[in-house]
Structure formats: structure tokens, C-alpha cells
Symmetry: C2
Amino acid sequence: MGKMEDDRFLLLNAIKIAKKGIKKGRGPFSALVVKDGKIIAKANNKVVVSHDPTAHAEVLAIRKASSLLKTHDLSDCVLYTSCEPCPMCLGAIYWSGIRKVIYASDRNDAERSGFSDKLIYDEIGLEPANRKIKFIRITDAGGEKVFEKWDNFENKIPY
Amino acid sequence: MGKMEDDRFLLLNAIKIAKKGIKKGRGPFSALVVKDGKIIAKANNKVVVSHDPTAHAEVLAIRKASSLLKTHDLSDCVLYTSCEPCPMCLGAIYWSGIRKVIYASDRNDAERSGFSDKLIYDEIGLEPANRKIKFIRITDAGGEKVFEKWDNFENKIPY
């Protein structure tokens, strides 16, 4: 199979898993992490069933893959996801080093089914003071001392 | 204590925990989830030690609090964090329903110590095609069928 057909095949697989998960109480999203053409992790959204607001399909698949490979660095992996990653999952993708994401639906499709992805994308660009959630900075609490300590710590492993 | 002193006291607590974590191999970040004035969850950043790129302090504290309260809904909680949440953690905060976040350092401080928070904030506002990570949408893979199934599923629990 050529690369484009591989991508389509794996994305169809993610979509199939997402559809199957719904009747088990899972959210309508699924993601796969693929390394060297092989699926090494797959996940449905489990926010409600596992009482965990961070249990999006992409986050769970990334956590599984990292645990399996024993590293937080997934820079040789590709993510396939039934829907455009929300800002939380996009952040997780950047932190994992994944270089390519293939997806089907987008934030507007998710919004029509009642999910806040687009709202959060809109909020993230606002100044902290203008957001729906109050973000209050206390500048004189000594937060900079944490980074000073980190900068001077000889045994640190940067990530 | 008045509310402002409470906020400062709890933030200082988070900063103290962040400093203590560094010599244990943890990242220079810490977060607390507080409900009714009581700390119900605290966490350091454990990305490297737990092989998990999503193991930021805020994500871990939110996961602990949700697990404890047996719900993904933390709308009656406040988050205290030693540094401005990155986009992943900001997303986690929105999905959890937390309404108030108190923080000390910001994305620029984090950048000076080698962390990509600001880069990810910058990337998130770009069109998917212009980002450092390739985001490729396949529009005709049937992604919309997942949401159709969800919309028509009578026993769903919206979140």
C-alpha cells in the first residue's frame, strides 16, 4: 500500500473504534498511535466512564504508547484521530514530539454535537483576564525561584 | 484569613512543592486542586520520571481530584499552579469546569528555562497547515458518521 492509502486505512480504523465505543458509554472519539506502520496504542474517549476530564482519546493513546516505549518522546510516531485534536490534545501532541497527525472531523463538527473544542480554541487566544475562566497571576509570590532552582540543578533531564 | 491571603498562601504552598520536587527528578512545576478551602489533590510535573508527556502538574492534580470526587466535573474547585498552565493544561482546566486559576510564573519565564509553553501557544493560533507539526485532514473518510451515531444514541451522557 502507498502512504496515502495507509493513512486512510488507519484513519478508517480509528473511526470504526470510535463508533464501537459509543454504546459502551465512551465519548465519540478514538485515536491510534502508530510506529513503523504498526498500531502500538489505541484508545476511545473515556471522560465519563473513568471520571477523568483529561481522558480524551488522543491523551490516552499517547499515555499508552509512552508507557509501552518507556519514554515521553514519541517523535517517531504518527497519530490518527477521528476528530481534530482539542487544545488539550494538541498540547499533548506537541509535548510528545509526534510530528504528524491525520484526522477526519474538525472542531466545528464536534461543536454541532455539543463539544467545547471550538470554544476552547477561541478562549486560548484571549488575554487571561478576558477569558470565561478567571486566570489570576500573583507576580510577587516567588515563582521565579522554582526556575532558578531548576536552572542550577546539575542532574536535571531537560524535556 | 481573607480570600487574597488564602490565594497567596495556597500558591506559596504550590511553589514550595515545585521546588522540593526538582531533586527527585521531577519537572519544576507543581499544582494544587482546592475545594471548599481544602487541598484535595497536589502534584509535581512527572513527565520524565513516569515516561508520560501528559504528566504535567495541572493534569495530574486534576486527574487525582476527579478520581477522588468520582466525577469529571470540578466546577466547584480552584487550581493553584506555580506557573501559567500550558495549552494542554489550559484545555484540561476548561474540560474539568474549574472556574478559577491562580498562578505565579508565566509562559515567558518557562521559556527562559527551556520549556515550550510559549511555542505551543504561538502554534495553536496558526492554521493547521502552517504549523511545525503536520496536521492533515482527510475529509471523505466518514468521520461525521461517528457524531451521527452519538447524536442518535439515546443513552449518552453529554459532558
